[in-house]
């Protein structure tokens, strides 16, 4: 997520509530500091929303222009369109991850710096995950020319593969 003021990576999130409407404000560390000083300044009388509203509008209009050019897809399960997703930042159902796959992959990369999951997996996929991890380790030890270790890993992979097929 980008800082709404300077477009660097946003790391600080403020929630602003005005007339029961909630708005999340995303800022980088530097802009967050000036924002905090800004809202703490008793001499400033005009509203913070006015100040940030302008910034958000500039940000939103820029994003909409980009979207028109990228995708027209709509999910047939939940009716979510790519425009709606970018406006709300939320998806409508798990199928959206397939419908908007390439947009989401780019977005995940921007948010997390990576787009491949490395954590827990469902029980049914545990063997698959073990195989993926072993193959990754195999490549790494081969690069380090640790051939004895590589042979051991290769045996483990074979064992797992045959158990998987059985």
């Amino acid at each position: 997520m980008k800082c709404e003021k300077c477009n660097k990576e946003a790391t600080v999130f403020f929630t602003e509530i005005k007339q029961d409407e909630k708005k999340e404000i995303h800022l980088c560390a530097k802009c967050a500091e000036s924002y905090q000083n800004y809202i703490a300044d008793p001499h400033i009388t005009h509203s913070i929303s006015d100040f940030l509203g302008g910034l958000l509008q500039i940000f939103a209009s820029k994003e909409q222009t980009e979207l028109k050019e990228t995708s027209k897809d709509v999910c047939s399960d939940c009716g979510m369109s790519i425009h709606e997703f970018h406006a709300s930042g939320r998806l409508g159902c798990e199928r959206d991850y397939r419908v908007f796959r390439s947009d989401i992959k780019d977005l995940l990369l921007k948010i997390h710096g990576k787009s491949r999951h490395r954590g827990k997996v469902p029980h049914s996929l545990q063997k698959w995950k073990d195989l993926v991890d072993l193959r990754k380790r195999l490549n790494s030890v081969i690069n380090q020319e640790k051939y004895e270790e590589a042979a051991e890993i290769r045996d483990k992979i074979k064992q797992l593969e045959s158990a998987h097929e059985a």
Partner: protein, 350 residues
């Protein structure tokens, strides 16, 4: 189980009096999960939300020792009760404001809670003190494993566990540590903390209240990313950064004591006097005063007041806690600010 029974006790996790209790209020880990074939909550019809709630409830009944858990359907609760649960961090503000059928189950000690139909179908959280870090993650992991043995969760081999907001995808794990950082805030050092956190993909937000970060000098540090690292790595990142922040806060506290002891003493004692004498106190003001007293206690400038008591004040001076304590009744010409002032006076004179 009546919600008012909870009033009798401080939430267990705020009873932290162990190591680092001078700065660390509590830690929290939460996991987000969704159930296949149901739309995410923002696209869910009322009917589907009812179906999902009863589907999940039936699974939870099989996994949780329900005699040690409370279960509430949020739609049946009053506005005050909803905010009361949110003030105790058992449900989120988003869950309070949500639409459709929503529910929560939480352990009697209030350490474990599961929100149903919040932003995601399931949000499981554990809140714990510093010395329970290892065991708490293990317990949460056991719980999610037991659930996953009887119910599928939305999962993609590349993207991991799928969540309504892509900022939570992958592990669905958010680990947070709640910190009291008055010295860093007073000396305008928080900018440096933001930058340091940023460098290791952590985010800092205000712990209490909305609109400003750090109201009353209370902050929470959380992982910014949930994808591309495994659960233990994400927890370790926060665990490794927190001690550095504690060290920094303590060194600034010590410097302030050496160079400006008189001013700090005055700052802390003035807060205690205000609490004892003021007839009306707003919530924002109560956080400011409690923060100053908490600092005074930790610097041994204010004797005979326990951290536990201050932590209790932090939760119980919220609006809905005050409303519950008076059963919603206000006397003639009385305001909630007066009730809060009286509550705080009692807390610090007894």
């Amino acid at each position: 189980m009546k919600l008012s029974n909870l009033m009798k006790n401080t939430t267990q996790w705020l009873r932290n009096e162990g190591e680092n209790a001078d700065i660390v209020l509590a830690n929290r880990i939460r996991l987000a999960r969704n159930i296949p074939h149901f739309p995410f909550v923002s696209k869910m019809s009322e009917e589907k939300s009812v179906q999902l709630e009863s589907f999940v409830k039936e699974k939870l009944d099989r996994v949780l020792p329900m005699d040690q858990y409370n279960y509430f359907i949020l739609n049946d609760l009053s506005e005050t009760d909803l905010h009361f649960l949110s003030e105790r961090h058992l449900i989120s503000k988003e869950h309070v404001r949500g639409e459709g059928r929503r529910s929560v189950t939480f352990s009697l000690d209030e350490k474990f809670s599961i929100m149903i139909n919040e932003e995601d179908h399931l949000r499981l959280q554990v809140i714990f003190t510093q010395d329970e870090a290892q065991s708490s993650w293990k317990k949460l992991e056991d719980l999610i494993d037991q659930l996953e043995a009887i119910v599928d969760f939305s999962f993609d081999r590349r993207f991991g566990y799928l969540t309504a907001c892509p900022t939570n995808a992958g592990t669905g794990l958010r680990v947070s540590t709640m910190l009291h950082l008055p010295a860093l805030q007073m000396t305008n050092q928080m900018g440096k903390i933001y930058q340091a956190a940023d460098a290791v993909n952590l985010v800092i937000r205000g712990f209490f209240g909305e609109g400003t970060a750090g109201m009353g000098d209370f902050f929470q540090v959380s992982n910014q990313i949930t994808l591309g690292k495994n659960e233990k790595e994400l927890i370790q990142t926060v665990e490794s950064v927190v001690p550095q922040i504690l060290k920094y806060e303590r060194s600034v506290r010590n410097k302030m004591l050496k160079s400006d002891r008189g001013r700090i003493e005055e700052h802390c004692h003035k807060a205690l006097t205000t609490i004892k004498e003021e007839s009306e106190i707003s919530f924002r003001e109560s956080l400011r005063l409690l923060s100053a007293i908490r600092l005074g206690v930790n610097l041994e400038l204010i004797p005979d007041v326990g951290i536990k008591k201050i932590n209790e004040g932090l939760i119980q001076s919220h609006d809905s806690h005050l409303k519950k304590s008076t059963k919603g009744h206000l006397g003639d010409d009385e305001t909630w600010e007066m009730i809060r002032a009286r509550f705080l006076q009692n807390l610090f004179t007894n």
